[in-house]
């Protein structure tokens, strides 16, 4: 037990460092946790030994797997059923194009250019097919497009794309046996019953300090996760679908979602993302950076080819269309889940896993940097014809006259930083 507590201390220490880095740099916690995991494995591996981090210890695998399942469930529960019902027909076209273009394109590149096995190539396609709903949602909010037809359609399409990714991950690599049929049959029944049973059950017994809701949801997620794993599929597949079918009921219970987030961010996802980072082999990346660059180029090019025409079709401004398209090229959560699934199932080796995770991380970061540097919606703002700086002739509450002009070069306000 002593060793376990020591290891838990080490992992939570790394999680804390990652969180501080994410606060200081204003980056996503998941991103900093992956990077911290990679660096920690590199440094600790070099100084003490690769096994010290214990990334394959059963209890760490359990916490990590639970983190992936609940995170995926919460991602599915963010679906807006009203928007989805309203725009699903239009969204299916965009969502499928956004899924199939990178899925097939990246799989083809991995197979023909990188000489990966067919299974590994398919996995590369799955891992690089994702689109981050969060990124697109943030862009839509920035543009104020989240309530427009265009915004709603693209957002609904992102869910279709991610659904394509989890379905591909859950079904392509599973041998089609009687277990698959049982898993599919039980899933249909459970997904049909849950939206009916859950709100009634919560209404009857919920709202108590014993946290019945959390236990009920974990029971559903673990149960369906077991069934998926038993059928050689992936546990995140039912988790995402349970999230989607409960989005209109459980997804609207903000207090419950918050409590689940606390559990997820406070304990579980650090184990998941740090573990995902710990398996990245930096020497493999340094030895053949070309592979990573080819995969990244394939991911961005195929996403561009599929999404840019769609955004233009919706008569989006060119710059805005490019901005949206670039940001639709990212997908950190499902990308890393797919890659880790491939590694744990022996579909890909450590080097291939490293290239995929590096590509997923880069495809989350680089398009965002490019988009922010070159494609911010400045056309919406328009450059001021002449910068007018008035020296305000007013007295500060606690001091002398305020000279705006004098203070401008280094002056700034950041209304979001808390």
């Amino acid at each position: 037990m002593t060793e376990m507590w020591l290891l838990a201390t080490l992992w939570l220490g790394l999680a804390l460092i990652a969180t501080l880095l994410s606060i200081w740099f204003g980056i996503a916690t998941a991103l900093s946790e992956i990077v911290v995991g990679t660096v920690a494995q590199l440094v600790i591996g070099a100084l003490v030994g690769a096994a010290v981090l214990g990334a394959n210890d059963p209890w760490i695998k359990f916490l990590s797997g639970t983190g992936a399942i609940i995170l995926t469930f919460l991602a599915g529960a963010e679906l807006d059923p009203v928007v989805f019902r309203e725009k699903w027909k239009e969204a299916v076209g965009i969502g499928l194009a956004s899924f199939f273009a990178p899925f097939l394109g990246c799989a083809a590149v991995a197979y023909y250019f990188l000489d990966w096995s067919p299974q590994a190539s398919w996995l590369a396609g799955v891992a690089l097919s994702t689109t981050s709903v969060a990124v697109v949602y943030a862009v839509m909010l920035e543009f104020g497009l989240n309530t427009s037809v265009y915004g709603k359609t693209v957002l609904a399409a992102c869910f279709i794309t991610d659904l394509g990714t989890v379905l591909a991950l859950g079904l392509i690599f599973a041998p089609f046996t009687m277990r698959t049929v049982i898993f599919a049959g039980v899933s249909v029944v459970v997904f049909a019953l849950l939206p009916y049973l859950t709100p009634r059950f919560f209404k009857r017994y919920g709202g108590r300090p014993s946290e019945l809701e959390a236990k009920y949801l974990l029971l559903c997620l673990f149960g369906m996760g077991f069934l998926a794993a038993w059928a050689d599929s992936e546990a995140v597949l039912p988790a995402y679908l349970i999230g989607m079918v409960l989005a209109g009921t459980v997804g609207k219970d903000h207090m419950l979602i918050r409590r689940l987030r606390t559990l997820t961010f406070g304990l579980l996802t650090p184990f998941y993302f740090i573990r995902a980072g710990a398996f990245v082999s930096v020497p493999a990346l340094i030895a053949a950076p070309g592979i990573f660059l080819i995969l990244l180029a394939a991911k961005i090019a195929t996403k561009l080819a599929a999404v840019y025409p769609v955004t233009r079709f919706f008569k989006s401004h060119k710059t805005e269309a490019m901005y949206t398209t670039l940001l639709m090229s990212t997908g950190l959560t499902f990308g890393s889940i797919s890659a880790l699934f491939g590694l744990s199932q022996g579909i890909i080796d450590t080097s291939q896993y490293s290239y995929l995770v590096a590509t997923v991380v880069a495809s989350a970061v680089i398009p965002t940097l490019i988009a922010n540097a070159f494609y911010l919606p400045r056309h919406l703002l328009g450059r001021a014809p002449e910068v007018e700086i008035k020296t305000a002739d007013v007295t500060k509450a606690d001091g002398p006259l305020l000279s705006a002009k004098e203070s401008l070069p280094e002056s700034t306000t950041s209304p979001n930083r808390q």
Partner: protein, 138 residues
Amino acid sequence: MISKLIVAYDGSKQSEKAYKLALDMASKYSAPMIVLSVARPPEPPVAVELTAVLDRATEYFEGHFKCLKEQAQAMGIDANFLVRVGHPAEQIVLLANKEKADAIVMGHRGESLMERWLLGSVAKRVLSYAHCTVIVAR
């Protein structure tokens, strides 16, 4: 003559000063004002975390707005309060353009070199793109 003011507010002491300055100006010119707070998503925004950040920011700002609203009401100033999402500078300028504001009042807040490199100076961006007077309170 100032007929409408935008105040950028982030809950910091500097933005409190900017708010007091804006109240004073709004009172002198009998101008309505809009208090804007911007929630910036992490880079890149990631599923679930984004919603958590936005929920937290909205709750944080709305908590502060109650107190600010009382101050404005006590002075008889017409003040509206908004929370937007995105890059602070762009959201400030967008709102100023949309509302045809005559002045933007914002607080000075020293950012680290890293923050400036990653996010860019908010004031510089506001100055570059704003079509109206920009006042930075120190």
